[in-house]
């Protein structure tokens, strides 16, 4: 099922949580709503689910306005950040809940319910935990049960609110790969909310970057990462160095004083050398070197006293033979320029 969001707004008191949002989610896609906390992403998800009523605007499922359908009638699978499993029910009963509450006419037989729950337990690889209570499971297991419970009713849309937000880093990694696989198998249109850019970029087909109740950019992970539409998106997706800059004859330059433009450079797009290279270099003094990991991270102080972060391959680092406190020349290979709307954000 495709989802269309048109001109949707929502206020909480004086706070504008969503400001005239437009979003198109095609059938079968896995879309991430990415943004800092308070950007309105969860509100948007809850409006799609029918758990929140928008002040204005329209939500359509397959082109049909669903304003008069309650959360109960929308057939969405909703997965909560803190799982929201029924704590007094076993894993089996949790997953079976959505089937058991159906009206007698549409309710599957006890045998069909057992078969369906069994399938889902296989899918989430918790066959042996059917009789356990949520409190006896780990966080990752609980979230898988929550997913199975939502899938049990064969929803037309899956909505996931920070599904991995409460898990530790390693389980997060495993679970988000598993979610991607699951989506490829089941193929149901899915929207998930996250504030973690790695998660959004790794899992989603499409990323909608949100900020202060607006959508800044929608695109594939590669598009939003490589061609950010705004300084906010550039800043939010990955580490970045911020400089003042100006444009001379159509080419941007880094400038030491405040100008009308901001220049963004990713740490891996800065080149450290012992001698000046090209025309756009500046001087810096290395301050701290972290050589653990696949990339060497160098922190340096520019000639005008601002910190700058550079990342380079181990090989390059060994060739240079860098130490702390050395004077070097830094040249940006790839920079992005935005008009200075927010002063040195």
């Amino acid at each position: 099922m495709s989802i269309t969001v048109r001109n949707v707004s929502k206020r909480f008191g004086t706070l504008s949580a969503l400001d005239r949002i437009d979003l198109e989610i095609p059938q079968g896609r896995l879309v991430a709503l990415l943004g800092p906390s308070g950007s309105g992403k969860t509100t948007l998800l809850r409006i799609i689910a029918g758990l929140e009523i928008p002040d204005g605007g329209v939500v359509r499922f397959d082109g049909e306005d669903i304003a008069d359908r309650t959360a109960r009638e929308r057939r969405v699978g909703f997965v909560f950040q803190h799982y929201a499993l029924f704590r007094h029910m076993t894993v089996f009963e949790n997953i079976a809940f959505g089937l058991r509450v159906r009206s007698r006419r549409t309710r599957p037989s006890a045998q069909q319910i057992r078969a369906r729950v069994g399938e889902l337990l296989d899918l989430i690889q918790l066959q042996n935990q059917a009789g356990r209570y949520p409190s006896q499971l780990s966080g990752g297991q609980r979230q898988r049960v929550a997913l199975a419970r939502a899938l049990a009713v064969e929803p037309s849309v899956m909505l996931l609110d920070e599904p991995f937000g409460a898990l530790d880093a390693k389980v997060r990694m495993e679970l988000r790969r598993w979610l991607r696989q699951l989506h490829d198998e089941v193929g149901v249109t899915s929207v998930f909310v996250t504030h973690d850019q790695d998660e959004a970029l790794e899992v989603a087909d499409q990323v909608a970057v949100m900020n202060a109740g607006r959508i800044e950019q929608v695109g594939t992970p590669d598009e939003v990462y490589s061609r950010p539409a705004s300084s906010f998106v550039y800043n939010f997706l990955g580490n970045v160095n911020l400089f003042h800059g100006r444009i001379d004859n159509g080419t941007p330059h880094i400038h030491r004083e405040a100008t009308g433009h901001l220049v963004f450079v990713r740490p891996h797009a800065l080149e450290i050398a012992r001698h000046p290279q090209g025309a756009n270099y500046f001087r810096a003094t290395t301050k701290h070197i972290n050589a653990a990991g696949p990339l060497v991270k160098v922190e340096a102080i520019t000639e005008w006293g601002a910190p700058v972060h550079v990342e380079m391959a181990q090989e390059r680092f060994r060739d240079l033979g860098l130490h702390n406190g050395e004077e070097v020349f830094i040249t940006p290979r790839d920079l992005a320029v935005f008009a200075n709307e927010q002063r040195a954000g």
Partner: protein
Amino acid sequence: MVSAIELRGAAPAVRESAWVRGLLIGTSVIFLGAFLLAPLAVVFAVALGKGLAAYAASFRDADTLSAIRLTLLAAAIAVPANLVFGVAAAWCIGKFEFFGKSFLIALIDLPFSVSPVVAGLAYVLLFGAHGALGPWLTDHNVRVIFAVPGILLVTIFVTVPFIARELLPLISAQGNDEEEAALTLGASGWQTFLKVTLPNVKWALLYGVILCNARAMGEFGAVSVVSGHIRGLTNTMPLQIEVLYNDYQFVPAFTVASLLALLALATLVIKSIVEWKAGKVGSQPT
């Protein structure tokens, strides 16, 4: 390592010398003995002082039996009434935001802060012969004050906070997540309430019912004002105890008192079991 150091550092602060501990524990034991256990023991000592036969004989008095029946009736009506009201009030206060919410909470607490005698008087002024609704009630042949309906009304009044107050913190702490999950899974409001909300609060609910019942049976002040002390008709157990005591019938008086004391002890036992059960459920990480 850090926690081990902290523990070692914290230990001396909570370790008192032997005589301090002895003094504190001793004081508590003497206090509890003098103020709680001794009166309780006296009740049973006097009730059984003339032997079991005299104890049993006290129950053959028609007025006493009528008082027991009336007390059971009052509890049987006040507890279910407050069960429905308490669950409804705790649900709407705990789950929703609305204007006047804190006022409603204060209103539920009112019976705790108003003296029961004042509550009783208020009902007399409202429903009594010279009260606001008195003439209308007389015209329609309904007696409230100095009759059973008045006793039921004030019993409900003084027990209003028990169940609502017991449920409210739990219901608001549990939030709406599980209910919202049930909703998106297609459950109706009633199904959500029965299958999700109610099972989550069942121990607190039982606890509230026990306390409510104990108060309903034990209430003296408010009932005393509206009852009129008509023997065999409008005396509840606490009132009957007073009547018997004032007639110097000590054995029957203390016999009825022993029933209320037993009710209190049973309440304590059930309360402890419920707390233990609820604690076991509550201590699990959720």
